[in-house]
């Protein structure tokens, strides 16, 4: 069943088009990898789905226009990890993660499983030891994990991750991708992520969308999108050869 359906999506800032005419469908269990060179509009596409930027075209969630969802409903269904995090005040890790339950605490009957979800999210991201520390004292990677924990606490059905492994140590890169990969196998779930590391994208994605020069240059199965003729055009180099050279360093 199609969970998210994006139809002829376009975003412009003033007169400048960022991307246009992007369509795709996200089905249960999918992990869609959004790839493309810098400035191709990947993050903007993600922000359009979150409602942070105005767009043309339509985005529907479970057959209804996504704009019809109330903010709380949207948050319970679609969770977004932004690319950059900056917190100006000394909130504790737990306080930031707890905010992930915001949409639930507004519900009738409160949020009985909230504390358990928060604890679980802190454990999953390895932040339980730092739960009462101020976020101002954290490194970039730790901060990234805090917001990831917030997202897991939020427990949505669709995860949208903009560079989820930004700043992360290798071990956490691996953990995050394993975690999300496990997470999406439960019924009714799907993931979209913007990923720079093409090897990671290829290893974990079930389908991909390659943005280049404001359009979708290729989309569909991993094999199709990762065809050298598309990749090499988009990135302006022989991608496969470079990857192999890099890998050969380890032999």
């Amino acid at each position: 069943m199609s969970i998210l359906c994006v139809d002829r999506l376009g975003v412009s800032f003033g007169q400048t088009p960022i991307f246009q005419d992007v369509s795709f469908e996200l089905n249960e269990g999918d992990w869609l990898m959004m790839i493309g060179p810098n400035g191709s509009g990947k993050s903007t596409l993600v922000r359009a789905i979150s409602g942070a930027v105005p767009y043309s075209g339509s985005i529907s969630y479970l057959d209804g226009d996504i704009r019809r969802l109330r903010p709380g409903e949207l948050a319970r269904n679609i969770g977004i990890l932004a690319q950059n995090h900056y917190v100006g005040y000394a909130f504790t890790v737990r306080e930031v993660v707890r905010l992930g339950r915001y949409a639930y605490t507004r519900e009738r009957g409160g949020d009985p499983e909230g504390e358990a979800r928060i604890r679980r999210a802190l454990e999953l991201t390895g932040m339980d030891g730092l739960a009462d520390k101020s976020v101002l004292h954290l490194s970039g990677g730790e901060l990234q994990r805090v917001f990831l924990a917030q997202l897991f606490a939020q427990d949505p059905r669709v995860l949208i991750l903009d560079e989820p492994t930004n700043h992360l140590d290798l071990i956490y890169q691996k953990q995050v991708f394993e975690l999300v990969s496990e997470w999406r196998r439960e019924p009714g779930r799907a993931v979209i992520s913007v990923v720079h590391d093409l090897s990671l994208a290829r290893a974990y994605g079930t389908q991909a969308l390659l943005l280049y020069e404001k359009r979708a240059l290729a989309q569909g199965s991993m094999d199709r999108v990762f065809d050298p003729k598309f990749l090499n055009t988009a990135y302006g180099m022989d991608v496969a050869a470079w990857m192999q050279t890099m890998l050969s360093q380890w032999v």
């Binding site: 942070a52 709380g72 005040y89 737990r94 905010l99």
Partner: protein
Amino acid sequence: MEEKRQRESYGLWTWIGLAVLTLAAMLIAVCVGSVSIPVGECLRVFRDALTGTEASDPGTASILLAVRLPRVLCVALSGAALSVCGAAMQGLLKNPLADGSTLGISSGASLGAALAIAFGFQLPQLPFSGSMILAALFAFGSLILILSLSYMLDSSFSTNTIILMGIVYSMFVSSILSLVVTFAPDKLKQITFWTMGSLEGSSYQNALVLFVMLAVCGTVLIRLAEELNAFAIGEENAMNVGVNVKRVRLVILVTVSLLIGTCVSIGGTIGFVGLVTPHIIRLLTGPNHRRLLPASMFGGAAFLTLADLAARTIARPLELPIGVVTSFVGAILFVLIYYKVGRTAR
């Protein structure tokens, strides 16, 4: 886990402690002045007044009940209101330099008051009513103007646009204010006094208006504590976790401007207390608005009460504008506390 949950907001005893400290500051302020009255006598006068007993010393009773008490009440309530507004604005705009004046509301209100003074606008039989009414109207008008201009320029209604419009508007207003002063030089002293703030001659009616506004607006803000936490962490993050960003922001801005407008209309623009108190309190409570907002109310009340006490006693018989004291003491206190606590707690 239960204990972790409770730590979000303070327990009963902390509130009682804060209230006792604030009341103590107010009691001192009531007792000390051109005529100092011992605390015991002071309490006796209050007891007599409450029980309806004839006062044993009518002179003292009249100083306390007719002059000092209404003033101290107004000062404490203004301090509480300005601080809670400052705390809310700093959270909402995720900007530690924000306070009620960031939005241009207090400048707008003082322009209203200045115009009333310059053109002698007032209602018959009610001295000062003209400046109060115009101040409140201008406060609200300024908010509408700033918000609609921001919305026209930027339909996503972003915080940066609102701050920018507020600053531009403040500059614009202060140029008009200078113009008014130029054309009405004989009113300069009165206008200056207004822009520096003073709660001299406050009445019980003023205190009642302030109390009602603080109770209503303060409740609205404290109920939005979790949303303010979300804004303080980041506007886009707030949206992602399900906060109705546009609506909540509008509610907070309107609430703050109503409260600021009321304060300015009664006591003029009292600078710094809305900026500095939330900072000091935040160093003690942390940034969680569940604790920060109520604690700022008490802290602001105590701070402004003591500042007002200083304003009327330091250069006796001359009375200083309260804004001079808040800015002077506040700046020094702020640096000291920030230096001492900030190094460890930040």
